[in-house]
């Protein structure tokens, strides 16, 4: 029983992190119909910037977090306005190819800049273990978990309560109508992309403080995020969270009781099975038509 508890807690912790990194992707995927292959590289940039700000510039973790958020939001905004804007009306392949190219450039420029060594993001707390009954966690994980949860809530509030959020939801429902209602859809798209980028980068920094930040991690993260987004349904906020948690827990249980070798396979099998029976994800807000 203790073992099961530990596996569940492991799964939930990982699941929240999956959810956070997938949140940005589901917004971009769902709202802008862009399959963003550079998502994992934004995550990586967050980790690398986090290292730079905390280890090189010596700032504390939370100021670092704020700076990374601002820098990456600006970066995401610029990418959307300069690159994605141009191919928006050309169907999804242009977006795919563009983001693949972008991913290659970002990953290799980062490689040139910081090299191949794993980078440490200074954690705000010690790494000592924390015992909650039979379950082991660390302070670092708990703090990261709390920050991740706060970010999720903040994004939810942004989308539900602010004017920008309302504009985003309107554009998501019907871009033409939104434009007719006077919403500047280019700004909405750029803000959405910026928000997605920021969420990815912040999750990269948070996880960089628990594990380490590495330049080569982009591809793996993108794949996991895609799995979560499909599981939860494109564009669905609660779906991304549910999908992330589901993936985390299932992976932990599979790894614990069956085998750790094929843990990554679980996500892909889930996607295939799910798409056979519920093609639009668990929580999709709208059904797709041909």
């Amino acid at each position: 029983m203790d073992l099961l508890l530990q596996f569940l807690v492991n799964g939930v912790v990982i699941g929240v992190f999956y959810a956070l990194s997938a949140l940005g992707l589901t917004l971009i995927f769902g709202l802008m119909r862009v399959v963003n292959f550079a998502h994992g590289d934004f995550y990586m940039l967050g980790g690398v910037l986090g290292w730079f700000v905390t280890e090189r510039l010596g700032l504390d973790f939370f100021s670092g977090l704020a700076i990374v958020a601002v820098v990456m939001a600006a970066f995401g905004w610029v990418i959307d306005r300069v690159l994605i804007e141009r191919v928006r009306d050309q169907g999804e392949e242009a977006g795919i190819l563009l983001t693949i190219g972008l991913s290659i450039v970002i990953a290799n420029v980062a490689l040139l800049a910081v090299g191949t060594a794993p980078l440490k993001v200074a954690s705000p707390v010690s790494e000592a273990p924390l015992l909650l009954g039979p379950v082991v966690l660390t302070r670092g994980r708990v703090v990261a978990l709390v920050i991740a949860a706060l970010l999720v809530v903040a994004s939810h509030l942004l989308i539900r309560r602010t004017t920008l959020g309302r504009a985003m939801r309107a554009t998501f429902q019907d871009p033409m109508a939104a434009r007719l209602a006077g919403i500047r859809t280019e700004r909405v798209y750029a803000s959405t992309f910026a928000l997605g980028t920021t969420l990815a980068a912040l999750s990269g920094m948070l996880l960089g403080s628990i594990y380490s930040a590495q330049v080569s991690i982009g591809g793996t993260v993108s794949l996991k995020a895609f799995v979560v987004v499909i599981l939860g349904g494109m564009g669905s906020f609660p779906g991304a969270i549910a999908g992330g948690l589901l993936l985390g827990v299932v992976e932990a249980l599979w790894g614990g009781y069956i085998s750790t070798n094929l843990v990554d396979l679980v996500g892909f099998l889930l996607v295939i099975v799910l798409l056979l029976f519920r093609p639009y994800g668990l929580f999709s807000l709208r059904a797709e038509r041909a």
Partner: protein
């Protein structure tokens, strides 16, 4: 149609003559890789360009074909002229299975589920040590006996001509498919699904035809790869090959027959040329891809086709104006 046919014939002729003019083994090796990628890109183009759905799982068929040939060759000692067609056959079956599941979906769902298949296969290949030797891969896939006796340059030339033959067959099948009613029906499905359905075309069946044909051809290419490189690993299922295929088709122009061939040539040569730039190589390559998307969105051949169409329209306009105004103006 004539333009494409002439273009294909010219390329074919040039490809035939290359080994006679060039004796540098490295360049002939590059030629073999260009032909290999040309077949892969053409097979991928059948799915993306003529069905209109973006498949990220095409490497599944490449890998299945390569592993089939490798296992048949190393464990059962079958020669290359047996293993390569069998590789195509196994890939065809895989195409039927995977297509039956994935072609029910469209758009980004299709993209992700095909990706899920190729990643799942990669993980299985990496871990099912009994069948695939896991991450150690299958080494020592033998070339045909008569090639093994040749010296280096001639062996590579022999492989070149074998691959050229496979490429010719591939392009022929693709050509016949595209310019048949099945091909035209597939294009109709791509352009407008509802209209196609309204005139009695079953989109799923059309998509399956193109998909399975593409899978078979990719499998044959994989079988050849196994014998040429003599080593097969799980990286064949990986995203690197997929990205290369995508880039070649989109740079050359999807939905055209010449496009993938031009794309394969251009991208292979570019990748090798960029080796000179050492560390900047991949960065420059990524920038190249971005620039192509921004400025040549229909690819090179798409651009050429558009130019020819606009020139034809201009000519027609001029002719019309002349007749309307009763003389040169």
């Amino acid at each position: 149609m004539t333009f494409e046919r002439n273009g294909l014939l010219m390329l074919g002729l040039a490809a035939l003559l290359v080994p006679l003019a060039v004796h540098d083994q490295y360049l002939i090796h590059l030629g073999v890789m260009v032909l290999f990628y040309a077949v892969l890109a053409t097979s991928f183009n059948l799915v993306t360009g003529y069905v209109g759905e973006f498949s990220l799982g095409h490497t599944a068929f490449l890998g299945i074909g390569a592993y089939t040939a490798a296992i048949l060759s190393t464990r059962y000692g079958l020669p290359m002229w047996c293993t390569v067609p069998l590789a195509g056959l196994v890939s065809m079956l895989a195409g039927l299975m995977i297509g039956a599941i994935t072609l029910r979906l469209q758009g980004p769902f299709f993209v992700i589920v095909t990706l899920a298949f190729s990643e799942a296969l990669r993980l299985i290949a990496d871990n099912w040590v009994a069948l695939t030797n896991g991450p150690m891969g299958i080494a020592g896939v033998t070339p045909p006996v008569w090639i093994a006796h040749l010296d280096n340059v001639h062996a590579t030339q022999a492989f070149y001509y074998i691959m050229l033959g496979i490429a010719a067959v591939t392009v022929y099948f693709a050509y016949r498919f595209v310019y048949s009613s099945a091909g035209r029906a597939a294009v109709t499905v791509r352009e407008s699904r509802y209209v196609a359905q309204s005139i009695g075309i079953w989109p799923f069946a059309m998509a399956m035809q193109a998909f399975v044909l593409g899978a078979t051809l990719a499998g044959v290419a994989g079988g050849f790869y196994a014998h040429y490189i003599s080593f097969v690993g799980s990286d064949l299922f990986g995203f690197a090959f997929m990205a290369t295929m995508i880039i070649m088709v989109l740079v050359g122009g999807k939905g055209t027959l010449l496009g993938p061939l031009v794309g394969a040539l251009l991208v292979t040569v570019l990748q090798e040329y960029l080796r000179e730039a050492q560390e900047l190589r991949l960065t420059l390559f990524g920038i190249f891809v971005i620039l192509i998307v921004l400025f040549l969105p229909r690819g090179l051949m798409g651009f050429v086709a558009a130019r020819r169409a606009s020139r034809k329209t201009a000519r027609d306009d001029l002719a019309t104006r002349k007749t309307l105004h009763g003389g040169a103006r």
